[in-house]
């Protein structure tokens, strides 16, 4: 078991290293650096000025060396201009280079300066992640029980009417990406001119113009502002997890030991609760864990749609403003989330499944 975990962690670190290098390479392509130079300097910079800016800000040199600097295994760059002022990766202009650490990269906890947020990238990202954490928490609270319930009820009696209805619902929900369900939900529930809100306002049941709010903010977490974003993200995942749970449940329900229990005279409810459920929930656990990367996509779309300032919103802004450090930070977080959930799902699967654990 320990060897298995160690091998997985090693593979994970290798993956993370390759992925961050790819992101670093793609964000540091010459056209991207030119764009950065023009947005940081001035739009009307001449080509020579752009080249100088890139050179003076540590963006020239071999890509491997710069990646090493970013990672924190190579010494940070320094540049002394003609006035004798020295700037560098690890200290502000005018500070004494001798006092600054030689290496400062992601390993030393220095994620660089975000040109979009005008702050250090790490604390900024931390705050944004906390906001997204709240959103994710509620998504999980809504999504997991709902989808498991739908899957178990549908898979309990395969081919029954309940099964058909719930399966159709699951298919429909997997066919609705977040940007579609978000738009439909807002039009139905959060628009003062269409859907339910004008009718309810007409009857005097709601005070404001719309039932739910069409925008959300991390400072003001309430049912009325969170319901729609959470529903939007959860809906896409519910269908998928429910289908997996249903498949696993139908498989278990046809197993020999279930028939034995039924023939012994155990009631149907008891069979489902006591015998079937535990085995049927092993597969969905893996699926739920592997859903995290998908949720990350959903988060980006929903935060853009509802203007919720969290991780996904930051990713879009960082990419749109070509903020290299922030975008790299976002990818580190994203890749980390994906790899850790993969690891947990693998280890969890082994733990949950006695057939593998005991052999």
């Amino acid at each position: 078991m320990l060897k298995f975990i160690l091998r997985r962690v090693g593979l994970m670190l290798l993956t993370a290293l390759v992925l961050t290098f790819v992101v670093f390479y793609l964000t540091n392509l010459p056209p991207n650096l030119e764009k950065l130079a023009r947005s940081e300097g001035s739009v009307r910079m001449s080509d020579e000025a752009v080249a100088d800016w890139i050179d003076q800000n540590g963006h020239s040199g071999s890509i491997y060396e710069r990646y090493g600097q970013w990672l924190g295994i190579a010494p940070g760059w320094t540049y002394t201009d003609e006035k004798g002022v020295t700037r560098g990766r690890c200290f502000d202009a005018g500070d004494d280079p001798a006092l600054a650490p030689r290496r400062c990269g992601i390993l030393q906890g220095d994620w660089g300066y975000s040109t979009f947020a005008k702050k250090e990238a790490l604390p900024y990202l931390g705050g944004m992640l906390a906001s997204t954490g709240w959103l994710m928490l509620w998504v999980m609270i809504v999504m997991v029980p709902t989808s498991l319930l739908i899957g178990v009820v549908a898979g309990m009696r395969e081919g029954s009417r309940t099964d058909r209805v719930l399966s159709t619902f699951s298919i429909a929900s997997t066919a609705t990406p977040e940007y579609v369900s978000g738009v439909i939900l807002v039009a139905l529930l959060a628009s003062p001119v269409t859907g339910l809100s004008p009718i309810l306002a007409d009857w005097g049941w709601i005070d404001g113009k719309s039932l739910f709010l069409g925008a959300a903010s991390p400072d003001n977490i309430s049912f009325w502002s969170f319901a729609l974003p959470v529903m939007t993200i959860a809906l896409y995942g519910i269908g998928y997890i429910a289908r997996m749970t249903r498949a696993s449940m139908t498989e278990v329900m046809t197993a020999q030991y279930i028939r034995t229990a039924r023939l012994k005279g155990v009631s149907f409810g008891q069979v489902v609760m006591r015998h079937a459920l535990r085995n049927a929930l092993i597969a969905p656990f893996t699926v739920i864990m592997l859903q995290f990367p998908w949720l990350l996509n959903g988060v980006v779309i929903v935060e853009t749609l509802f203007n919720y300032k969290g991780f996904g919103w930051t990713l879009v802004q960082a990419a749109g403003n070509n903020d290299i450090n922030l975008l790299l930070g976002c990818s580190v977080v994203a890749v980390f989330v994906v790899l850790v959930t993969q690891l947990i799902s693998d280890i969890g699967y082994v733990f949950l499944n006695p057939r593998i654990r005991l052999s």
Binding site: T15, L26, L29, P31, K35, I171, A175, V183, S191, A334
Partner: protein, 433 residues
């Protein structure tokens, strides 16, 4: 003329779709009457779910085909006085011969939502099935040997596939689909790599089957190579050699300045893509390239294939690992059949059931991905009528004028739903065998 009520709007919309209804009825009548002779496709018509799914999918396919007849206005044109107008509004200052109403209202730039939605179907269906097919070619070409041979080949390929899968899709799109990336030529390199797979796949496929019969083998492989490499140079490098050769011959016979057509550059300008001004200078063209893709579209296409291929790889690998333990594979090995023959002519046909089902699901997923790209404004022309960008445009005025975003949203949802139902029906029917 006055504004239309909801019933009248519905009537008009149904009337606009007449070519689609006719095509649908013909398709269903022909298919149902010959369903016993049509294999898996025919069996689809035994399953109500599959039939509904197929109907929805074909509705959008025919809509894409007949889009020019269905649209009521130019999807890119703006009409004064029609900004954010509700459903069924009469066209302000209509001229003779123009359609009288904006059936599904106007958007924030006073364009007709209905026509844009219809044209959007064409934009989506131009890319999604082809991109999925390419992803399958790539996934099968590397997945079958990985599953069959196992060992270090499998380890390396699986590691690479997991690498791509570990990227959140949106991050990958933000890195891969940008104008800056197009400058560096990375999409062309990726295209050069990914577009090779179908040619390699088909060559190996025919070679494995016919290598005992060289004339036949040479014929098939030759046809694949000629057509494949012709399409390859046209699609990946935007250099259709046929066009170059014919144009070169034409110009050397008739003189340089007789005919200079705009070629692809003019075509791009017409659809609102970026104009590649260098093309006209370096390549005097006689006619438009047979195989060509605008840089924008190539970028989107390649990224979508790149995102989808690893998942297909995993599925194919899993199926092959399962099937290679079967008796008929052992029998083939005992007969002395080559590994490629066994892989491509014995295992692959037996894997077709799950692969066809996944193909339908994956077209739906690709449609969602294309919508995501449009939603974030990546890789599409600013006024492109594709559904993703139309939803993105509409969401800015969503709470006040929801119709502009709702129409494409419902269209996209129904297409993906149709594909999912179709896949479900196919799965049911193929399991019944």
């Amino acid at each position: 003329m006055e504004n239309l009520g909801y019933a009248a709007i519905l009537g008009q919309v149904v009337q606009q779709f007449v070519p689609v209804w006719i095509a649908l009825v013909v398709t269903f009548l022909v298919s149902i009457s010959f369903k016993r002779k049509l294999g898996l496709y025919g069996k689809l018509f035994d399953s109500p779910v599959g039939m509904i799914g197929f109907g929805i999918v074909m509705f959008w396919v025919f809509t894409a085909i007949f889009a020019n007849q269905i649209i009521t206005f130019d999807p890119l044109a703006q009409f004064s006085g029609m900004k954010n107008k509700p459903l069924g509004t009469v066209l302000a200052n209509a001229e003779d011969g123009q359609f009288g109403w904006f059936l599904l209202g106007g958007d924030h730039l006073a364009r007709d939502v209905f026509s844009r939605m219809v044209m959007g179907a064409r934009e989506v269906l131009k890319i999604a099935p082809a991109a999925t097919l390419f992803a399958f070619m790539v996934g099968i070409t590397i997945g079958v040997p990985a599953g069959y041979f196992g060992g270090w080949l499998d380890t390396v390929l699986s590691f690479l596939a997991n690498l791509v899968l570990a990227f959140p899709v949106i991050l990958l799109f933000y890195l891969l689909v940008t104008p800056e990336i197009r400058e560096t030529g990375i999409p062309v390199v990726l295209a050069a790599l990914l577009f090779l797979f179908p040619i390699v796949f088909l060559c190996v496929l025919f070679n494995a089957r016919f290598f005992t019969d060289p004339p036949k083998r040479n014929l098939y492989v030759g046809i694949v190579l000629v057509i494949g490499l012709w399409a390859y140079s046209g699609l990946a490098f935007n250099m259709d050699p046929l066009n170059d050769v014919v144009s070169w011959v034409w110009f050397s016979v008739a003189g340089q300045d007789t005919v200079v057509s705009g070629g692809v550059a003019a075509l791009d300008a017409a659809v609102g893509a970026e104009i590649d001004s260098t093309k006209q200078v370096t390549r005097p063209l006689l006619f438009d390239d047979v195989w060509s893709m605008s840089p924008n579209m190539l970028n989107v296409f390649v990224s979508v294939v790149f995102v989808n291929a690893p998942t297909v790889f995993r599925i194919v690998r899993g199926i092959v690992m399962d099937l290679k333990a079967r008796d008929y594979v052992a029998a083939g090995q005992t007969r002395g059949e080559g590994p490629w023959y066994i892989m491509l002519w014995e295992i692959l046909p037996n894997a077709r059931g799950p692969l066809i089902v996944d193909f339908c699901l994956r077209i739906g997923y690709t449609t969602i991905l294309l919508g995501t790209l449009g939603f974030f404004g990546l890789g599409v022309a600013p006024d492109s009528p594709d559904w993703g960008s139309t939803i993105d445009d509409g969401r800015k005025t969503l709470t006040l004028f929801p119709h502009a975003a709702l129409a494409p949203a419902l269209a996209l949802m129904s297409l993906v739903l149709g594909l999912n139902l179709l896949a479900d029906g196919l799965r049911e029917e193929s399991l019944r065998d």
